[in-house]
C-alpha cells in the first residue's frame, strides 16, 4: 500500500516483501534508495542494509520502524541517518526521499 501511495506521487518504486527478494532486485538493477522495515520476513532490515550497501555503496537507506525494542531504538537513533517511526506520514517520507535523492 505504501508503494502504491508513493507511485501515485510519481515515484518509481519496486515493492518486494522479503529481504531476499530485495537482494535479487538490487543485483539486477541500480536503485537510489531502499525503504526498509527493521523487522521483515527472512533477513531483517539491519542485515539487509549491510548487504545492499555491499552491492551498491551509494544507496541511501530509509528505515521504518515501530521503535519498540532496543534494536529498533539503536537503529533509529544511532545507526540510521534516515528513520521514520510508524505510523508514518506520507508527506514526511516524500520530503526525506527528495532530500536523499538531491
Amino acid at each position: 500500500m505504501l508503494a502504491k501511495r508513493l507511485a501515485l506521487r510519481g515515484i518509481d518504486i519496486d515493492p518486494v516483501f522479503t529481504g531476499e527478494d530485495a537482494i535479487v532486485k538490487a543485483k539486477s538493477q541500480r536503485y537510489d534508495v531502499a525503504i526498509l522495515d527493521v523487522k521483515m520476513p527472512g533477513i531483517g532490515g539491519i542485515e539487509l542494509e549491510r548487504k545492499l550497501k555491499e552491492l551498491e555503496p551509494g544507496m541511501k537507506i530509509i528505515f521504518l520502524t515501530g521503535h519498540g525494542s532496543k534494536t529498533d531504538y539503536e537503529t533509529g537513533s544511532i545507526n540510521a541517518k534516515y528513520y521514520l517511526a510508524k505510523p508514518i506520514q506520507i508527506d514526511e517520507l516524500i520530503t526525506i526521499l527528495q532530500e536523499v535523492t538531491g
Binding site: 500500500m1 501511495r5 534494536t71 505510523p87
Partner: protein
C-alpha cells in the same frame, strides 16, 4: 530502610518491560498498516477501482483481527502475574511465549512441534516460567541468526515433569544458555536446565509441582 528499586538487576521487571515494549511495537505495526490502507483510500478518492477498495478493506479487517489477537495475548501475559503459584497448561504457556517472542525485531521462525495430545499441567509460578521460556527463545534467536528456524517441543515424562526442548541453533555460535541470570530464574521455580554436549539444543525440565522441583 532502603527505598531504592534496582531496575537494572530486577529480572522480572526487565522481562515485563521488554515484552510490553515488543507488544506495543506490534500494535504500532498493525496501526501503521491500517493507516496506510486508509491513506491509500484517501489518495485515490473517487477514482478508486472496486478491486482496490476490496483489497484495502480486506487488509483493514485482517489487521484489526490481528490487533484483537495481540491484545488478547497481552491480556493473558499481564494476568500471568496475578498468582504467585498456579496450575497452568504448559502447551498454552509455550504457545503464548512463542507468539510474544515473534514480535521481537530479531526473531526468526519458530516451529512448535511434538505437542503432546494431553497437555501437561504444572503447578508453578506462571510469570517466572514465562520469563525463563522467553529467555530461552531470545537465546535461540540470537544463536540461530535471522535465517534460522528454531524448534520447540514438549515431552511429558512418566514422573509428571515435562521437558521443553529448544533446538535448531547454528553451529557457529556454540555457547551455553545456562548463565547466572537464567540459572537464578530456573532455580526459583525448580526448573533444571540441561544442555546437549555440543550446545546445539537444551531442555528446560519443568517439575509437576514447583515445590517438588525445588526439593529435587
Amino acid at each position: 530502610m532502603n527505598n531504592t528499586i534496582d531496575f537494572k538487576n530486577n529480572d522480572d521487571l526487565a522481562f515485563f518491560g521488554k515484552v510490553n515494549a515488543s507488544i506495543s511495537h506490534e500494535l504500532k505495526n498493525i496501526l501503521a498498516i491500517i493507516s496506510e490502507a486508509a491513506g491509500l483510500l484517501q489518495d485515490l478518492g473517487q477514482k478508486i477501482e472496486l478491486e482496490m477498495l476490496k483489497t484495502c478493506s480486506q487488509d483493514i479487517v485482517e489487521e484489526i483481527q490481528r490487533g484483537f489477537t495481540t491484545i488478547k495475548q497481552m491480556n493473558m501475559f499481564s494476568h500471568s502475574a496475578d498468582d504467585p503459584i498456579k496450575k497452568v497448561n504448559l502447551v498454552d504457556v509455550v504457545d503464548l511465549i512463542i507468539a510474544l517472542g515473534e514480535f521481537l525485531s530479531f526473531a526468526c521462525k519458530v516451529r512448535f512441534d511434538s505437542v503432546p495430545e494431553v497437555a501437561p499441567m504444572v503447578s508453578t509460578c506462571p510469570f517466572r516460567l514465562q520469563n525463563l521460556i522467553y529467555q530461552a527463545l531470545v537465546f535461540a534467536f540470537e544463536s540461530a541468526g535471522p535465517d534460522g528456524q528454531i524448534r520447540v517441543a514438549i515431552h511429558p515424562q512418566p514422573n509428571g515433569c515435562a521437558h521443553i526442548t529448544f533446538s535448531g541453533f547454528g553451529s557457529n555460535n556454540a555457547r551455553s544458555f545456562a548463565s547466572d541470570k537464567t540459572n537464578k530464574i530456573a532455580a526459583s521455580i525448580g526448573v533444571d536446565i540441561r544442555e546437549a554436549g555440543d550446545l546445539k539444543s537444551f531442555d528446560l525440565i519443568v517439575p509437576e509441582n514447583v515445590e517438588a522441583g525445588r526439593e529435587h
